[in-house]
């Protein structure tokens, strides 16, 4: 069980560091098109920033509202990924063949660009949700099995 931190230094620094970390996470996610980075790394950084927020302000504070909301978005990233692939299927190509991505008024290069970016966003969302939910379930969920039952089995 994690309680909110009451040190003024930690709380103030948290307010400064967390937005920067989130911005950096989004930068890494978008920059993955041109260099090292991408959805997985970006998602991990975003998740880390949210976990930092939970550690400092607690899960119930208004500062952790995004972390609370995102826990319900388990399958969203997967659906984005599958949806982009499905749009390519509808266009007549193979799964994830961005040349057939059905988004109007895009030339082929932009189709690839948008397709890759969307799948990376899907990956990032999923990694972020998974990271936060691991942290939350390790620290906040109670044991469901009573102690006497554990000793019996």
């Amino acid at each position: 069980m994690i309680r909110p931190h009451d040190s003024a230094i930690v709380r103030t620094l948290g307010h400064i560091v967390i937005p920067i970390a989130q911005l950096f996470g989004i930068y890494v996610l978008v920059f993955g098109q041109h260099g090292p980075g991408g959805g997985f790394v970006g998602g991990v950084i975003i998740a880390a920033s949210m976990i930092l927020g939970i550690l400092i302000f607690g899960i119930d504070s208004p500062d952790s509202v995004l972390a609370r909301k995102i826990l319900h978005g388990d399958g969203l990233g997967l659906l984005i990924f599958a949806g982009v692939g499905g749009l390519c299927l509808i266009g007549g190509g193979q799964f994830l063949n961005y040349s057939y991505l059905q988004i109007p008024s895009l030339d082929e290069a932009s189709q690839h660009y948008v397709g890759i970016l969307l799948t990376q966003i899907g990956v990032a969302v999923d990694v972020a949700v998974t990271g936060v939910s691991i942290a939350v379930s390790l620290s906040f969920e109670e044991d469901e099995i009573p102690n006497d039952e554990v000793t019996n089995v």
Binding site: G75, L89, G93, Q94, V153
Partner: protein, 487 residues
Amino acid sequence: MSSNLPVLLFLVPFVMGVSMPLLTAKRRSWCPNITLGTFGVMLLLSIANLRVVLAQGSIEYAFGGWAAPIGIAWLNDSIAAIVVLIMSLVAVITQIYGRLDIAKDLEKSIPYYTLILIMVSGLVGVIFAADLFNVFVFLEVVALTGYALVGAAGGKGLVYAFRYLLLGSFGASLYLLGLGHLYVATGTLNMEDLAVRLPELMTSTAVAGGLIYIFLGLSIKMALIPLHSWLPDAYANAPSSVTPLLASTVTKVSLVAWIRIEYSIIAPGVEVSHVPVVVLLEELGVIAALIGGALALIQTNLKRMFAYGGISHIGLILIGVSLGNTTGFAGGMFYLINDAVMQASLFMIAGTLIYYHGVHTLEDLRGVGRQSPWLTGALVVAAVAMVGLPPTGGFFGKWNIILGALEAQHYLAAFTVVASTLLTLAYFLKIFSCWFHQPQHATSEPLVVSNALRFSLGAISFSMIALGLMSDTIFQFLIESITTGGV
């Protein structure tokens, strides 16, 4: 669109599984219907896929338009098409059955249905994957959902699910280690590519070690004796509603993955320091078939007995596919398909017995036969198929494995098939002697079973006989896949 059928077969259960919480948040009672509907769509798609493969031969599906070895490829060949078809059929029937025989707390549980759907999508992935790393990923999808499903009923099942998790993760690590060896030695993980590069490297101990790691990892997953210890307890304590699906698919699909690796990478006749590899595998199959049958004979718990029966059949299939000739291979593959149906049938019967009669062990069975004609019929058909009498599919599978063994002059293998048949007959005699025994209590009224249960038991028994009647066609189809190259 027809060329996209493999990926559609994967996407349908996957997307439905992921969006299950969204679709059923307000109406939880829809969960079983949506799951059943998804499996129904999969069945139709897999029939269409079989027709495509019959018309066009094996097709390579290149993801993103990038052909292998640069891109990731799936291979849609006759083995994949037919295994996916049988798997979808089993999924539909076990889901119809599972709706009746389900624990109260699982009945409206969204995670439970999500896990089933994602497990099935993972199974489809393993069957189609033509790339060692893809096989690993999908095997892990199947395994992780499998651990959760085994533990879904809670109680003792959790302990066995945890043991399954430890052993399964160990197997996955071994597989990954072997994969690393092969990748370092060849620089590729695509099976077709490996088949070109590996034969000249077979003298390297790194490659041999890698293949051994891969085999060990997969043999934990397919519960090959002596690495089977997770299976009987896990299946005996898993929720009855899902055990038929688990028992009929998970181990079989790991075996399919191994068969693909064996046939695309280890060509028959390959020797590692003068030891023919496939003969070694065959001996392992002999051990598994005999010990599995003997262990089944000494069980008193019905579910455990059936689980050991399945373990001994894994050995038989391994014998068949490792004989190195097409007859044995087709026999082994055909037996694999049959075994999937037989295991589903047996665990459905065991689950129904627990649900309606509270029967767990052979002792409790006395007199049940007089109460349930439908169960008796289903059990007789399943027993005939397991023992291997015509006209069920079991006979034709075993017959071809024996023919293949004689053709290869491996008399020990032929003897093992016969001996394992006798062991199977022995443990079914044990069951039937209790089944038709005079009831202990004189309270035997004919039991009213629901129509859906009758349908699922009838359908699974019918498919065992139908597989036997269509055996010749299926054999030709399976043999075609190895004579035309890729497996």
